[in-house]
């Protein structure tokens, strides 16, 4: 559909775009990314025929763009600039109708049925027919942008060029516009658009062109472009990549410049004891991966609560009950990890371990009425359970990679299994050594300050610290609760 070969050009004497080559197929949604001044708009202006290239060629539908007559080109390529304005009070309909200019031929330029249909369809597609008779000046920025999109669509182009189309739009219009464009590409329209927002571009574009200093840095799919190294190269800023929660496309998060970071140490002095719960409220939010009943998954958490519940606690609508419980005690549910156990809070054990440049603080409660050997088959997981759960908190005073979080969970789990084995805890159903209980929870939380820990495997300093601390605290907690049981 469009081939750009060794294109160079700019305004005045300097070359802004240097030797750019790429091609776009019909029906593609092609994004152009790059920092300010990287030549995105100049490139687009050359493709739209606004600026003559200094060298190189642009071929649209197998025909060099310079050989197109203005009207002929407008029937193939339509452009939606960042902002279009008029001093005069044109109505929406009048504005959209201007899109038919290139299709009106002959001396009298009569308005045909075909013109009217194209205008109506463009207005319907963009949702602008609702205010067809309103004046442009009476519309909001987002509505106006949609009117000009309708104008461009009324040109019935085969290629649509957009310069940061979502610039003036609020969130929902951004999405609507891009959804519409995406849908139109499946009907054969080719869309080439400049994006400012890496994440939006990554979500919607089939392929992306990343520009740096007027030249191509990378061309490829979102996965090819959205690499932390590329973005750092081009934008000279630190970003962190993560997957989109629902769509298999990468997203980038900005990393603000670190501001005066005080070291933070999580230790036993932060542990608050109450009759029915224990909690830790660290001075800064901790990056946390957890399986607690409240605040599971990834998050930045500023409170950690392990709560004693009666062994006859009704589990049917525990979420609502638990939410109320934490709320009443002044915990912000969005920032809290909550766990529950039938174990008395006095039986909680904790342990601090230091290895090299990292320290780990572990808090554990352990009840084993439900002990399970996960390697043995069992009839059903639904049978009536006795109370008993192992809850483990692992606080790492260091900066952990996501890899380290996962390895930390593995290491902690291994240590827990070893503690159960050494204590001789058995699965009552199978009679074999138990590996855990049916309702265990675990979290690993890191201050993300101090020394960087890329790994937490079993022979790394962090891993060894986690292993020791978990083993010792779980063992101690098991002893405490079995002693209490024995006294009863």
């Amino acid at each position: 559909m469009l081939q750009v070969n060794e294109l160079s050009g700019g305004y005045g004497s300097g070359l802004i775009v240097r030797g750019v080559s790429f091609s776009v197929k019909q029906g593609e949604l092609f994004g152009i990314l790059g920092p300010n001044g990287s030549g995105k708009t100049t490139l687009l202006n050359m493709i739209s025929g606004l600026t003559k290239p200094a060298s190189g060629t642009i071929v649209v539908k197998e025909k060099p763009i310079l050989t197109y007559a203005p009207k002929e080109l407008a029937r193939v390529v339509a452009v939606l600039p960042q902002m279009t304005s008029s001093q005069y009070a044109y109505t929406v309909k009048e504005t959209v109708s201007l899109g038919r200019y290139a299709h009106q031929t002959g001396f009298f330029k009569s308005w045909t049925n075909e013109d009217e249909t194209a205008v109506q369809e463009a207005m319907n597609q963009t949702g602008t027919s609702l205010f067809a008779d309103k004046q442009l000046s009476a519309l909001s920025g987002g509505e106006r942008q949609r009117v000009f999109l309708a104008q461009a669509l009324a040109q019935e182009p085969e290629i649509l060029l957009l310069d940061e189309p979502t610039n003036h739009l609020d969130l929902s219009f951004q999405k609507d516009l891009l959804d519409l464009l995406k849908q139109m590409t499946s009907n054969g329209l080719t869309v080439i658009s400049i994006f400012h927002d890496l994440n939006l571009a990554s979500l919607y574009c089939d392929r992306l062109l990343l520009m740096k200093n007027g030249a191509v840095h990378t061309i490829g799919t979102a996965a090819d472009i959205m690499k932390e190294q590329h973005i750092h190269d081009v934008y000279n800023t630190d970003v962190q990549k993560q997957p989109h929660p629902e769509v298999p496309k990468p997203q980038m998060s900005l990393l603000p410049a670190p501001s005066n970071v005080q070291p933070v140490e999580i230790g036993e002095e932060l542990l608050e004891w109450h009759s029915d719960y224990i909690s830790i409220r660290p001075p800064v939010p901790l990056k946390t991966l957890s399986s607690g009943v409240i605040g599971a998954g990834w998050g930045w958490r500023s409170a950690f609560v392990n709560r004693h519940v009666d062994k006859n606690y009704n589990m049917d609508n525990f979420e609502e009950e638990a939410a109320n419980y934490f709320h009443e005690r002044g915990f912000d549910l969005n920032e809290t990890v909550g766990m529950m156990t039938a174990v008395k809070m006095n039986d909680a054990s904790y342990r601090r371990e230091v290895r090299d440049d990292v320290s780990v603080f572990v808090v554990a409660t352990a009840g084993v009425g439900n002990a399970v050997d996960v390697t043995r088959p069992r009839a059903s997981w639904k049978e009536k359970k006795k109370p008993g759960t192992i809850n483990i908190w692992v606080f790492a005073n260091g900066k952990l990679s996501e890899e380290a979080f996962v390895q930390g969970l593995m290491t902690a789990t291994e240590a827990k299994a070893k503690a159960l084995a050494d204590a001789g805890v058995r699965d009552p159903e199978t009679g074999t050594i138990a590996t855990g209980t049916s309702t265990d929870s675990m979290l690993i939380a890191a201050t993300q300050r101090g020394a960087y820990q890329q790994f937490a495997g079993s022979i790394t300093p962090l891993g060894i610290a986690i292993g020791c601390a978990v083993y010792k605290s779980v063992t101690e907690a098991l002893e405490k609760s079995s002693r209490r049981k024995a006294m009863l």
Binding site: S48, E72, A74, V79, P81, S86, Y88, A89, Q135, S137
Partner: protein
């Protein structure tokens, strides 16, 4: 939404044309009728029918003379000038995307004035042209000025952005204006003549001036009206017009030349008459909207009627003394324009 009411005031374009034509015909008849000797409308109709369609005439020859030789050519000339200035003003406002542009923006009037003042100052009389020398020289210098401005703008910047053209126009206006001032300063007995010409007048011109003006008017007006869709596109900016498929470079030149030729011809035959090209298109735009396909013809019709009425006022308000017509248009135009602006600001929008 209040603004819509001004647009729905004349919901139908046909109604707008009917009103404008009625206003023009009314102006023509009143302009011809009123004077030291009053001529009834039916006599005017009879005389016009006689001369235009060859119907019989049973009337005093002196009345026929007053109407056909003196008043009617004056009314027609005023109408042509008003129409030219208004349509050129409307086109320039659309092209330059500025509702405050007027046909004199590009320095055309200064060019025409320099030619006219030169003729008056040096008492030039070109053989075969005689008394006709002044308008002919004036049209020539006006057209010369346009081409100088455009050429100069192109030397500055090949793509000829409108901003460049406006700046060039201002430079030429000031430069030529200082020439006029110089000649005024050096002149003696011709001072009054020069000032009178500069203030504008359509008196004692006769059919020959109408004949001089007509080809420029027909050519310029038709060209501009043919360019209405392009003007619509270009009022969204040159880039947008280009995206829509307009050959911006060529159409821009055509509009500038057509508008300037109209203006130059008008200035040449009547002197600089201000405010018509500014107020009339503005007023029409408020009534029927900015679509140039209707704005241009309606501005033309309304402008013609407006200038005929202004000329009538100029020659009757302190009769027998005649005021320069430029004074009247500015006296009426400036306050009307102020009112329009005030009204618009209150409603809080841009027309």
């Amino acid at each position: 939404m209040r603004k819509r009411s001004t647009r729905t005031f004349l919901p139908n374009k046909k109604t707008a044309y009917a009103f404008a034509l009625l206003f023009l015909i009314g102006a023509i008849f009143i302009g011809t009728a009123v004077g030291t000797i009053h001529v009834p409308f039916r006599h005017i109709a009879a005389i016009l029918a006689h001369h235009l369609f060859g119907t019989g005439l049973s009337m005093d020859a002196s009345i026929d003379n007053i109407v056909w030789k003196i008043r009617f050519p004056r009314v027609v000339l005023a109408g042509l000038i008003g129409a030219s200035l208004a349509i050129a003003g409307a086109a320039f406002q659309g092209l330059l995307r500025n509702p405050l542009a007027d046909p004199y923006t590009l320095g055309v009037s200064s060019g025409a004035s320099v030619g006219a003042v030169l003729v008056l100052f040096f008492h030039v009389s070109i053989p075969f042209l005689g008394g006709f020398t002044l308008p002919v020289v004036s049209v020539a210098t006006a057209i010369l000025t346009i081409f100088c401005v455009l050429l100069f703008a192109q030397t500055i910047e090949r793509s000829m952005k409108l901003e460049t053209i406006i700046l060039t126009g201002i430079i030429f206006s000031s430069f030529l204006g200082s020439f006029i001032s110089l000649m005024i300063a050096l002149t003696g007995e011709e001072l009054r003549q020069i000032i009178n010409w500069l203030l504008g007048s359509v008196s004692m011109r006769g059919w020959s001036y109408v004949q001089l003006m007509t080809p420029f008017f027909i050519g310029g007006a038709l060209l501009l009206m043919y360019m209405a869709p392009e003007l619509n596109a270009m009022s969204f900016g040159e880039e947008k017009a280009k995206y829509l498929g307009v050959n911006v470079q060529r159409k821009k030149m055509m509009v500038l030349i057509a508008g300037s030729v109209l203006t130059g011809a008008a200035v040449a035959v009547s002197g600089t008459i201000g405010f018509v090209g500014l107020v009339v298109p503005h007023f029409v735009r408020i009534l029927i909207g900015p679509d140039h396909r209707h704005l241009l013809p309606l501005s033309m019709i309304t402008g013609a009627g407006f200038l005929i009425m202004a000329d009538l006022t100029a020659r009757t308000i302190i009769s027998p003394t005649e005021l320069p017509i430029g004074v009247i248009t500015s006296l009426i135009g400036a306050p009307v324009f102020a009112l329009i602006l005030l009204n618009k600001k209150r409603k809080g929008g841009v027309a």
